[in-house]
């Protein structure tokens, strides 16, 4: 069925469940087309495994166009593989060479336990958002949208922070498994908008507290997260979060 001419060796992390230990297992694949996406290459592998009566490799994926944030493979030591600015599903086999060995591991962090094979549990992110990543406005309370002009530069900057897809590559690549880039992106988005001001300091405090409670590591400012983020979320957001956090602790009179 495959039409290409690439032969590959895959070393893939296989782990039956969160309760068992896993290991890297070797697979050979041939006739892979350079036009395939990385996940389509996994589809081919899984078809082969199923036809042989083996269990296919389980991995998270959904939209396959780089926006849902589900796909999450750590490929040859980098989240989402060798290309910058793309998710695993957008990675194409033309980024590899015939004869390559490709090591594929799940995201690794205490806060992201492995569920099975390459699938991890990222609900920690949802809990961080639930702790404060919102503006408390009930449906039906809004004023006319244009009553609140927002300078374009500010709006654009908030949008850039909001582009985060919550894939967790930042955590995966951080040597400390820190979630600072993810958390700061949401804090920074809302902190730059007038709508976000009333809860600005409460938000940063509760979200950081939840982030810490989830067991993520601390930020060392290596910048790896920014470099690997498929959406190019900037480290400036982390600085902004730090600033807001310190203001909330040392300037604001409110203790939360």
């Amino acid at each position: 069925m495959s039409t290409g001419n690439m032969n590959l060796t895959l070393k893939i992390w296989r782990q039956k469940s969160s309760k068992t230990n896993g290991k890297l297992v070797d697979y050979k694949l041939s006739e892979i087309s350079p036009d395939m996406s990385f996940l389509e290459m996994f589809d081919v592998l899984n078809e082969e495994l199923i036809s042989k009566g083996d269990e296919p490799v389980v991995f998270d994926h959904d939209c396959r166009e780089g926006i849902c944030g589900a796909c999450s493979m750590y490929i040859n030591g980098r989240p989402h593989g060798p290309k910058e600015g793309v998710t695993t599903c957008q990675l194409h086999m033309r980024s590899f060479k015939d004869g390559d060995t490709i090591v594929v591991e799940p995201w690794r962090a205490k806060a992201f336990p492995v569920i099975k094979d390459l699938t991890v549990d990222r609900t920690a992110f949802d809990r961080v958002i639930a702790a404060g990543g919102f503006i408390s406005v009930n449906t039906g309370n809004a004023q006319d949208a244009n009553n609140l002009p927002i300078p374009k530069v500010q709006a654009d900057s908030a949008f850039e922070a909001a582009a985060c897809i919550g894939c967790g590559a930042c955590v995966a690549t951080c040597k400390n498994a820190s979630a600072m880039l993810f958390v700061s992106a949401k804090i920074s988005q809302l902190a730059q908008l007038p709508q976000g001001q009333p809860e600005r300091y409460r938000r940063v405090q509760s979200m950081v507290a939840q982030m810490d409670a989830e067991g993520f590591g601390n930020c060392t400012n290596t910048g790896a997260c920014e470099a690997e983020c498929p959406k190019g979320i900037s480290l400036e957001n982390i600085a902004r979060m730090n600033r807001d956090f310190l203001s909330s602790k040392f300037v604001s009179e409110e203790s939360i």
């Binding site: 070393k11 040859n76 591991e105 400390n176 993520f216 601390n218 600085a239 979060m241 310190l246």
Partner: protein, 226 residues
């Protein structure tokens, strides 16, 4: 009642301690480097001893010495705690990590560089600080100041000591290359216009300070400074 809550125990708070103490140590390095650079007057250590005498007798400097030691200890202890906590945040390690693809090696090795500096500090403090503060400097110079310069010259006659100092200064350079800009980032002092300037200043600062420090034992060992 309003309180600071988890200001220092949160992950950002811990980094705040690293950042503030780091910047404080950076500023100390400038003073230390300036006083030490007085050896380059090459007057048999008279100017340098004068500086050292001032540092040893000025009440403000003496008071700051306590703060410095406290800051140093805080930086070290917090740093080590962070290293262990961060390791615990990833209990299962990756089989393959391509760190070079996304960050500088020294940014990822602050713990290691810091540990080298800690070992160096133990040697360095027992060489000079313990001598000048506790066991006593044996001789005085022509101005009747304690001759710390002589202690220095004597110490840097041993090749392995010189090598240790030079290596330590290389570690310091890389530690600062990351630490300088990183401290500003941690404190949230980020600005589209100023941050590039701060980063550039940090790079020059790290290189110049480290080179100046490293030249001293070499120059003494080579006999350029007598």
């Amino acid at each position: 009642m309003a309180s600071f809550g988890n200001a220092f125990s949160s992950s950002i708070g811990k980094k705040l301690i690293m950042g503030i103490t780091g910047l404080f140590l950076i500023s100390f390095l400038a003073v230390h480097c300036f006083i030490n650079a007085l050896i380059f007057v090459n007057d048999g250590g008279l100017t340098f001893n004068l500086g050292a005498h001032f540092m040893a007798t000025n009440w403000f400097i003496r008071a700051m010495e306590v703060v410095l030691m406290a800051g140093l200890l805080a930086h070290i202890i917090q740093g080590l705690r962070l290293v262990f906590q961060n390791q615990a945040a990833r209990p299962v390690k990756y089989a393959v990590v391509d760190g070079a693809a996304n960050s500088k090696w020294y940014s990822r090795s602050m713990g290691l560089l810091g540990t080298i500096l800690l070992i160096f500090l133990i040697v360095h403090l027992s060489d000079f600080w313990v001598v000048s503060r506790f066991t006593g400097i044996p001789t005085v110079d022509a101005n009747d100041h304690e001759n710390l310069f002589a202690v220095m010259v004597a110490r840097f006659q041993t090749p392995w000591v010189v090598i240790l100092y030079v290596l330590a200064m290389a570690s310091l350079c890389y530690h600062l290359l990351h630490g300088f800009a990183s401290a500003f980032q941690t404190l949230g002092w980020n600005h589209k216009k100023y941050t590039p300037l701060i980063k550039a200043f940090g790079v020059w600062y790290s290189i110049i300070i480290s080179i100046l420090f490293a030249i001293m034992p070499v120059a003494i060992y080579a006999g350029f400074i007598k």
